[in-house]
């Protein structure tokens, strides 16, 4: 793979230090995401900027990532999904990302349109996450667009891909990861994992298939019981441990807001300390923290890995 390093994210990955990335959702207004980016500054190396998450129309992730990066200095990982754009649109967006100074792209298939608020939309999926990864790789490293036409100033950025450690059956997912790695993925960010045994099973498979691409494991410290419950119920391949859920549920009884916050933090820190200790024994190069709106937990988690 490419030796050149364009982003802080890739620099950190190559440094061997444990890497932290966060997540920002532009949603229907950019204000909150910009505020969140400011809060995350210094806590994480880079932040993903989501692209129509769960197929709800949100502010375009390319524009949002650019604006967040410009206004806050937070390096962005621009998420790009195949659900809404054909190969021409994807290619032009990646070239645009290049001139806007974005340095990382996460190539995604994208949730099906019927999951969101616009279920009558015509889904696209002209490319998939693998062919999108290859398209970006070819743009950057061969200076050629989707049609094979040479472009004078290729974008300088890194392409990453997603992986699902908790997917069942896991084998097709692992072989697909291998395919994405061969297509040019330079890093992986995984779906949320809670259970250490899921990590073990996943990394065993990764090793067996000789997937050497750096992997950041997705974690979701839950700011509330509701947030954790949502993941457990609605996100495929994610099981939240019942004890963790129960402890969070118990915090709902605490009347005092500050005390409740403290207790939620305690539950998360206790759980994730164990989890991160376990993560130290895996080849994971970092963590992708998807806890939107919960930055105060990050310093505590980082202490575990220091």
């Amino acid at each position: 793979m490419a030796e050149e390093v364009y982003s802080d994210l890739m620099r950190e990955i190559k440094s061997g230090r444990f890497v932290w990335t966060g997540e920002l959702e532009p949603a229907k207004d950019i204000g909150e995401a910009i505020e969140a980016a400011r809060e995350l500054k210094g806590l994480v190396t880079a932040c993903n900027v989501t692209d129509n998450p769960q197929s709800f129309a949100a502010i375009n992730s390319l524009a949002a990532a650019y604006k967040i990066q410009q206004e806050t200095g937070m390096e962005c990982i621009y998420q790009l999904r195949c659900a809404d754009r054909n190969r021409l649109a994807l290619c032009s967006d990646v070239m645009a990302a290049g001139i806007l100074g974005l340095k990382n792209i996460l190539a995604l298939t994208g949730d099906y349109v019927s999951l969101g608020d616009t279920p009558r939309a015509k889904p696209v999926y002209d490319l998939d996450s693998t062919t999108l990864t290859r398209m970006i790789h070819t743009l950057v490293h061969e200076g050629k667009d989707i049609s094979g036409t040479e472009i004078p100033n290729p974008p300088k950025l890194h392409v990453g891909a997603a992986a699902g450690p908790g997917v069942d059956p896991l084998e097709p997912e692992l072989y697909k990861m291998k395919r994405k790695a061969l297509a040019g993925a330079e890093f992986f960010q995984t779906q949320v994992v809670y259970l250490p045994e899921v990590l073990d099973r996943f990394f065993k498979g990764v090793k067996e298939l000789n997937i050497e691409t750096p992997i950041l494991v997705g974690i979701f410290p839950a700011k509330s019981y509701g947030a954790a419950k949502f993941f457990d119920e609605y996100v495929t391949g994610v099981d939240v441990p019942p004890d963790f859920l129960k402890e969070l549920e118990a915090t709902k009884q605490i009347k005092d807001k500050e005390k409740r916050k403290e207790e939620v933090d305690r539950v998360n820190i206790e759980y994730f300390t164990g989890f991160l200790e376990h993560l130290k024994d895996t080849p994971a190069v970092g963590c992708h923290i998807m806890a939107v709106g919960y930055p105060r937990i990050i310093p505590e988690l980082k202490k575990v890995m220091e």
Binding site: S129, R179, G237
Partner: protein, 253 residues
């Protein structure tokens, strides 16, 4: 075959509102298999329309005569030329192909321009039977089955991915889009694994070439099939299968 179901009668009656003389054209092809254009369906439709005070001419196409194969179906339309010329509307009980082929014939060969309306909704190219059918091919014009263990992901994967599975595959190997359906890419994986071809699974398949799906597609063959002669020529093949359900099919001819 093209799967189909009859439209709600209210919708059909809406198209025929204010029109008294109706010609109801059946179909002896796919629509006969799905009971949407066979003799019984045409007769039932005619009865229903008569109850609405309409005057109905039935044009029944026998098994083997598809509405869309105009060389054959036109013979039955010609027999009813007068009724068509006098009609206020023509109701075609086939897929959309049949409706449009009949419409074009009436325009160009019978020489009258009439409202031609559909009785059915076509639901895709399907295979299987006798009672359960599955859409497995979308006639994309560039078959990919040689790269995908004989399962078409463009049709069978909810997202039509050439390189799946997506991250949404459900715990039991079901589809993110519809939990009732299998994830096509899990199935492709399983077949490749059994055949010892997992190396092909990790190969990236290029984005599908949609250039041959440029619509509408036109197609020409050098020599036309002569339906009656073809049926007769195939009889010996059917005779080799005597005794099974194929025998019953033979009897239909």
């Amino acid at each position: 075959m093209i799967a189909q179901e009859q439209k709600p009668i209210e919708e059909i009656l809406g198209y025929l509102d204010g029109k008294r003389k109706i010609v109801a054209v059946g179909c002896g092809g796919c629509a006969t298999f799905y009971h949407t254009g066979d003799k019984k369906a045409v007769k039932e439709m005619a009865e229903r329309l008569r109850k609405e005070g309409k005057e109905v001419t039935e044009v029944i196409l026998p098994l083997g005569v598809s509405a869309c194969e105009i060389d054959m179906s036109s013979k039955f339309l010609e027999k009813n030329r007068k009724a068509i010329e006098d009609a206020d509307a023509v109701l075609v009980m086939s897929c959309g192909d049949g409706v449009q082929v009949v419409c074009e014939y009436i325009d160009n060969k019978i020489g009258v321009t009439k409202p031609v309306v559909p009785a059915n909704d076509a639901l895709g190219l399907v295979g299987g039977g006798p009672t359960k059918f599955k859409e497995t091919c979308q006639s994309c014009g560039q078959c990919e089955l040689g790269k995908t263990a004989g399962i078409c992901p463009l049709t069978s994967c909810g997202k039509g991915l050439m390189n799946g599975p997506c991250g949404g595959v459900r715990e039991d190997g079901k589809c993110e889009v519809d939990p009732e359906k299998d994830c096509a890419w899990v199935k492709i994986y399983e077949r490749m694994e059994k055949m010892g071809e997992l190396d092909k699974f990790t190969e990236m398949r290029a984005p599908h070439a949609w250039s041959k799906a440029k619509r509408p597609r036109l197609f020409t063959i050098e020599e036309p099939v002569k339906p009656v002669r073809t049926i007769l020529a195939s009889l010996p093949s059917y005779l080799t299968l005597l005794g099974g359900p194929e025998y019953e099919m033979l009897m239909l001819f």
